[in-house]
Every structure is written in C-alpha cells, then in structure tokens.
C-alpha cells in the first residue's frame, strides 16, 4: 500500500468549464456572446420573414421622395415639394432650436432658483422650494399640455386686438394671441455691418482689458478696476457708431413692431411670430428642467464644506470673492456633469412637442413621413440614430470635461 496521494493531475474535464474559475470566465463569455448572437439572429430572421410576408424591403431611398406636407415652422426654405430628407432636416433644426432656447432659459432660472433656495431669506427660500417641488413632481407632459392650452387656447384671437377687447403688452410691442406671440423683429439698416464689426471689436477690447488687469494683479499685486472700464469699452463705441449712422443715414438696427392689420382678415403684420407650439414647449421644458437644475446647483454648493468658506474668510477674502474664487470653481466640478445630463434630457424631451403639434424631428421624420411612406422600420431607425449620436457626442464631451476638472491627487 502506498501512502502517497495522487498529485492533482492537470487533466481537463468538462466539468471544469463550470467549476474552475479560470475556465468559467471563458464559458460565461462564450455563452453570453452566443446567446446575444442567437437573439439578434432570431430578431433579424423574424424581421426578414415579416418583411418578405409584407412584400417590403429595407430601403432608405424613400427619403429622397417628395414630402408633400407642409411644416408650420421652418428655419430653412421648405415647401411641400421638398424631399423627405429636407423635411427631416427642418425637423432636426426645430429640435435643436427649441432645445437651445430651453437650455438657456432653464440654466438661467435653475441657477437663480438654486442659489435663492439657499438664501437666508426665509420667505424666498420657501417660495423656491415650493417651485422646485411642484415642477419636479408633476409630469413634463402635463406642463406642456397645460401651457399649450393656455397659449394656444386661452389667448385672445387677433380679432380681439382690432376691436379693442385685447391689447398689446410691453408698451404695445408684444402681442399675445392664439396665433402665437408676435415680438418686434430686428431690421437691418445702413451701416449694420460696421456696427457689428465695432461690437465684436469692443468685446475683444473688453476681454483684453480684463486679461491685462489680471496680469497686473498677478505680477505686481496692484488691483486694476475691471467692471467699469470693460463696460465702457463694451457700450460706448457701439453707441457712438449707432448714433453716427442714425444721424447721417438712418438707423443701422431698427425694430419692426408688429401691429394688427387695419383692414381685411384680422391678422398681425410685421414683427416676428413665435408659434404657440414653440412657446409652450419652450416654457414647459425650461420651467420643468430648471427645477431639476436648481437642485443640482443647490447640491453642488452644499457639497463644498463650510471650512472652505471659513478658510477663504480667514485669508481676508470678501463674500463675493470667496464665492467667485473658492466656492464656485469647486462647486462647478459637482454641478456640471448632472447639468449636462439635464441638457441631454432637454434634447430628448423635446420630442414631447408632439403633444402640442411642434414640428420637431419626431413629428416630421418620425411622424408624417413614416405615416405617408409606410417605412416605419427605416424611419424609426434614422430617428433613433439621430438621438443616439447627439447623446453620444454630448456624453463624450462631458467625459473630456470630467477628466479636465478631476481632482488631481498626488
């Protein structure tokens, strides 16, 4: 009898595939890949069978066909004779327009509310809390429908402006009617090019002044005033050019104020029309998202420990400078990533404009085009790709930013 035990043999048994962690990793991955491939294959196979049964093929050439429908709001020339591709482009531009407008307004309101929610004024802080909670806890779609109903349904007809039952607001420059909101439109006059050039140059000069002031401060420690000289640089040259042209040839930049037509069908002439659908979607998106942004801003400021403020005060910085030089740069690191996700949400949520008839990409390519051509599969694919590409680009940019501002620890 031998007392020695057999040394474990390195032989491979099938059960090792499950029991041995080294092989199991491979088993799991192969299995996962196989299952995914099988599911995808199954879906693709079903799709080809279904398409064949319907006598269809996957074919994207429909986007070069005549669209044949009108779009109420077009940023580029478009008629019913344009192609579906152009209709889609109009939709893309409308999506981007309302998203950009909403991003600006939501950021302004959000930052404002977020900071005021931390105010030491009891009443103001409470009011902002009410705003945030009300808008955060009620679906966006309800806000869109409600504001749409107010703007489109409840505003007076143009007729009411003629017979005097309704009147224009803001010094008779803006008309709120159920045909949309009419605002003054800028009109370019003689010398507008010069004016634009001067404005650009004065912005550059103001920035240069700020840079110089900062350099003097850092090299010699002497404080150079920034605000008033920069403001003067910004405003005075432009004002001078505007006044010069106005006296000599006529206003370089005037405003065409809308007015109700004196005769014929009551309608507004002149000015710029903001459609009710755009307005409803814009306001609803902004107010709703602002409540989320406000929470991000508040969280970001609260995340900076009190010691930072106290340390800045101990260094002799005043409150404003403490905020500007110590708190904000740190808080931004916390605020910006969720802020960008909110921007992304705005872009994606703009597809809800469908509820008020806003003609974004979802309504042109993903709506009317699909209904007219019966190309659901291709249309939805293009639609999905558009949103996917936008969101991947923005998340990519956000990752770059995150790496840029990351705390560099030793």
């Amino acid at each position: 009898m031998t007392a020695t035990t057999e040394p474990p043999r390195a032989g491979f048994r099938l059960s090792l595939l499950i029991r041995d962690t080294r092989y199991r990793a491979i088993t799991i991955q192969v299995l996962a890949l196989a299952v995914t491939a099988a599911v995808l294959y199954w879906l693709g196979w079903n799709t080809t069978r279904n398409l064949a049964a319907m006598g269809k093929q996957i074919d994207f050439s429909f986007i070069w066909g005549r669209a044949g429908y009108d779009i109420s709001q077009t940023l580029i020339p478009y008629t019913a004779d344009s192609t579906h591709a152009r209709a889609a482009l109009v939709g893309v531009l409308n999506t981007l327009l309302v998203s950009a407008l909403a991003i600006v307004l939501a950021t302004v309101i959000g930052v404002f509310v977020g900071v005021l929610r931390l105010s030491n004024n009891w009443l103001v802080a409470r009011l902002m809390t009410v705003y945030v909670e009300v808008f955060r806890n009620v679906p966006l779609l309800l806000w869109i429908l409600l504001i749409g109903a107010i703007v489109i349904g409840a505003a007076p007809e143009p007729r009411a402006f003629r017979d005097g039952t309704a009147s224009m607001i803001l010094g008779s420059t803006v008309a709120v009617s159920n045909r949309g909101i009419f605002i003054p439109a800028p009109v370019i006059g003689p010398g507008a090019g010069w004016l634009a050039l001067v404005v650009v140059l004065s912005i550059a000069a103001a920035l240069l002044w700020r840079w110089r002031a900062r350099r003097i401060l850092y090299t010699s420690g002497r404080m150079v005033p920034v605000l008033w000289p920069a403001l003067a640089l910004l405003v005075l040259p432009g004002l001078a050019v505007w006044a010069g042209f106005t006296l000599a040839e006529g206003e370089p930049l005037a405003f065409d104020v809308p007015a109700i037509a004196e005769t014929g069908i009551p309608r507004f002439v002149g000015g710029m029309q903001l459609r009710g659908s755009l307005l409803a979607l814009w306001l609803a998106l902004s107010l709703y998202t602002a409540s989320h942004i406000a929470e991000n801003v508040r969280g970001g400021i609260l995340a900076i420990s009190r010691g930072q403020t106290e340390a800045a005060h101990a260094l002799g910085l005043r409150s404003g400078r403490t905020m500007q030089l110590v708190i904000l740069p740190q808080a931004l690191r916390v605020i910006v990533p969720p802020l960008i996700s909110q921007y992304l949400n705005i872009i994606k949520n703009s597809s809800l404009g469908l509820a008020v008839g806003y003609m974004d990409l979802r309504s042109t390519l993903g709506g009317i085009t699909i209904n007219q051509t019966g190309r659901e599969l291709e249309g939805m694919l293009l639609l999905g790709l558009f949103y996917l590409v936008i969101s991947l680009i923005i998340s990519g940019g956000m990752n770059l930013y995150n790496n840029h501002v990351r705390l560099r620890e030793r």
Partner: protein
C-alpha cells in the same frame, strides 16, 4: 487658624433675568430671516406681493367653484347667476362628472372594487418592506400578491395565475437546488434550461392540441396557460375578465409605474454588475445595451414597441400593448438605474471587494452579502429619482393610444360639453401625480436618514 469670614453667601436663587430684547421673539426672527439687509428686505416685499397676488387670484376662483353642472357653458351660467357676470370661478363640475374616468378609465363600473382591493393588497404587501417597525412575517404575501393582483385586475380563470405561480415555483426549486449543489452559475443555467425546456415546447404542444386562446400570459407560460384551460373546463372558477383597452386613467399609470419599478430594479442591478464585470464580453454587451437604451428618448422606444415589435417577433404573434409598454418602460428605467447603481458600486472602497474575496465568497455571494447592500444604500437617492422619473414618464403612453389621465384629459377637452376647460382638469391630474411622486421623494429622504448608521 480660623476660617476667614466669608463676606457674603447667597442663600436663595435669584429669578433668571429676562433675555435681552434683541435675542428672541418674533421681531428678531423677522429681522434675521426676512429683513437682514436692504436686498433681503426688497426680496421679501417682492415675494409677499407675489404670494398675495397668487392667493388673491386662486382662492376666490377655487372657492367660487361650481361642483354641479353638466357642461362648461352650464357652469358659467350658474356662476353668473350666483356671483354676477365676470367673477372668476372654477368649474369643478368636470371633475365631479369625470372623476371615475380619470381614475379608472373605462374599467367596468360594477367592478371598481377589484382595482381597489388590488391596491389594498399591494399596500399591505409592500408596507412590511417599507416600514421596519412592522413584523417581518407579513412579507410572506410578497410571492403571492403579484398573481392575486393580476387576477383581480384582468379577471378570467383563477387557474391561470395559480399555474403560472406553480411554474415559477418549479423554476425556483430547480435554481435553488442545483445552485446549492453546483454553485450559483450552474443554478442559473439550470433554471433557464428548465424554463425553456419544460415550458415552451410542452406548452406549444398543448396549444396545437387544444387550440386554446393566446392571451399574453399563455405566450409567456404556455404550459401553465394550457393546463389552466383544462382545469377551467373541469373546475370552472373564473371572474369576469377585463381587456386591456378598458384600462385607463390613473389606475393605468399606477399599474405601469409599479410594475416598471418592481421589474426594473433587478434588471438595473444586473446591468450595473455587467458593466463593472471583469469579463470583457459581458462588459461590452452591458455598456452598449445601456448606452443605446439611454441615448434614445422613451417616446421613440414606445413607438418602437407599438409600431415595430411586429417586425421583430415571429409572424402572427400579437401580444398585449400594455405588456409591451411595461416591458419597454422597465428596460428604459433599468438602463438608467444601471448607471445610478454603477455610481454606488464605484463609490465603494476597493477594500470591500478584496475583503469579500478574502472571505472566500464566490461572486454572487460576495455581491449579495457584501457589495450590493452597501452600494444600493449609497444609490438610494438616485434610485428613487429614477423611479419618480419613470412614474412621471408613464404619461407618455398616451402617444401609443393607451388612455392614461393625460390622454383622457385630451378627449375630455375635445368633448363638446367640456371644450375649453384646462386648469381644473390639469390641477386634478397634477395633484394625483404630485402626491405619489412627492411621497416617494420624502420616503427616500427618510430611508437615507435611517440607513446612515455610519454617520450617526
């Protein structure tokens, strides 16, 4: 030595002095909180003006409300008669007239007790999970409740849910017995194999023989569905069935929302674990799934579910729109949850992972016992925010033709008698959503506070 004579010792206590006038009282509070500086004083005055304006508009409007009228114009006539022309007054009659629809959709009136009872069962089932003071024993309802609730809501034969439950019990039995003996991974494989092998072919065979009707439950669990059909013939026990088209109103939102919440959490956890996995293939698959789902708006996914699903499934498959929506919402919320939970997983110190390995726990045990309890605790605010967002997003189902409260509000406003009404309707619907969402967010704050044991 004699003690030095003590000059003065007080023998009785003096009454405490009143605090200085500037240290307390309402005036000081006002000064500190409302008028601490010029800017604050101005802000306070503006705020007071805003509050006054809002209240002065809303309170008389709401108080003058008419509760009993047949149409909006009728409402206005009554109002003019009561308060004189032009006085603002709400027309709550629309709520009085349509509240049943807004809450229950077109669910048969005689059967309202069923969703209400289902809601009661739901509340009793989840309460022990939410309130730690309640006895743990109450949790036994959890495995049974979903089936009972399903049966109450949709009706039909009692055998369908009973057998579906039995089927799941078999899978669970296979999973746990194989898992105990051969490791968790083998358990998963065996469970899935049991699901596929036992249920699909046998169920399909039954389908062919019996020619029984395809409800969506049959499609998922054909065997249970078919034995159920046999049992139903032998031993009928069914209640009136309600089809999906009759569901609507807040009931519909609540069902989709709750189902999505309960189903998306496990999906989100699995996706998050997949994204953190050391296995390249698993990681890549999880990341692409999450990014694709998150990159496209929910409304596009819902349209995909309603328009395109027929392309991707075998010809002739036709399953319930509501189930499709629930699946889509679940997947969507799952992808968002995965990102939230990933944050929690990443925030755990590496030592926790290493300690779990050092204890000799396998992957699933270390996740279940060490990692996830801590990671989920960190992610609670994000998880609840995702739930709230998903609950609000259930309103998007109106675009695919399900009648949620907002979809119904559109049809009510299109109705001749209520054309032109909006504040009253939207206030009512908004209040319904607000109560649920606000409740969830407050509960998450309470939970966060209760679980913060390390920071007490």
């Amino acid at each position: 030595m004699t003690e030095p004579a003590t000059g003065f010792v007080r023998t009785e206590m003096l009454d405490p002095l009143a605090p200085p006038e500037r240290a307390g009282g309402p005036l000081v509070w006002l000064r500190a909180n409302l008028f601490s500086s010029w800017l604050n004083a101005i802000l306070t005055v503006i705020s007071l003006y805003v509050v006054w304006r809002v209240l002065a508009t809303v309170v008389p409007w709401a108080a003058n409300g008419i509760w009993d009228a047949t149409s909006l114009s009728n409402c206005r006539e009554i109002r003019d008669e009561l308060y004189g022309p032009g006085v603002p007054g709400a027309c709550w009659a629309v709520i009085h007239d349509r509240w049943r629809q807004l809450l229950f959709g077109f669910y048969p009136k005689a059967l309202y007790w069923r969703p209400i009872l289902a809601l009661a069962i739901f509340v009793v089932t989840v309460l022990p999970f939410l309130v730690p003071a309640l006895p743990r024993r109450l949790m036994w309802m959890a495995p049974v409740a979903p089936f009972a609730i399903f049966w109450l809501l949709w009706g039909g034969s009692v055998w369908t849910p009973v057998l579906a439950m039995a089927g799941l019990a078999v899978i669970w039995g296979v999973w746990s017995s194989v898992g105990d003996r051969h490791g968790a991974f083998a358990g998963w494989v065996a469970g899935i194999v049991a699901l596929v092998v036992i249920f699909l072919p046998v169920g399909r065979a039954f389908d062919a023989v019996l020619g029984t009707g395809e409800t969506w439950l049959d499609a998922l669990f054909p065997l249970a569905g078919n034995i159920g059909a046999l049992l139903e013939r032998a031993l009928p026990a069914s209640i009136q069935s309600v089809i999906t088209r009759e569901f609507g109103g807040f009931e519909l939102s609540f069902i989709i929302g709750v189902a999505g919440i309960i189903l998306s959490l496990p999906l989100g956890i699995l996706l998050a674990l997949g994204r953190q996995s050391h296995l390249l293939v698993v990681r890549v698959l999880s990341v692409s799934f999450i990014e694709i789902i998150r990159g496209v708006p929910l409304i596009v996914w819902l349209f995909t579910a309603s328009l395109l699903l027929n392309y991707f499934l075998p010809p002739g498959t036709n399953f319930d729109l509501m189930l499709r929506v629930i699946i889509m919402v679940t997947i969507f919320a799952g992808a968002y949850l995965a990102e939230v939970i990933r944050g929690g997983l990443a925030a755990l110190p590496k030592g926790q992972y290493e300690a779990a390995d050092a204890l000799g726990l396998d992957y699933w045990k270390s996740m279940r016992l060490i990692i996830l309890p801590q990671a989920l605790k960190i992610s609670i605010p994000g998880i609840v925010n995702t739930f709230i967002a998903m609950f609000k997003d259930t309103t998007l189902v109106m675009f695919v033709g399900l009648l949620d409260p907002l979809g119904l509000s559109n049809s009510i406003r299109a109705d001749q008698s209520w054309n032109g009404i909006y504040w009253e309707l939207f206030l009512f619907i908004g209040a319904l959503f607000f109560v649920v969402c606000f409740g969830m967010s407050r509960y998450s704050m309470y939970l966060e506070h209760r679980l913060a044991r390390d920071r007490r």
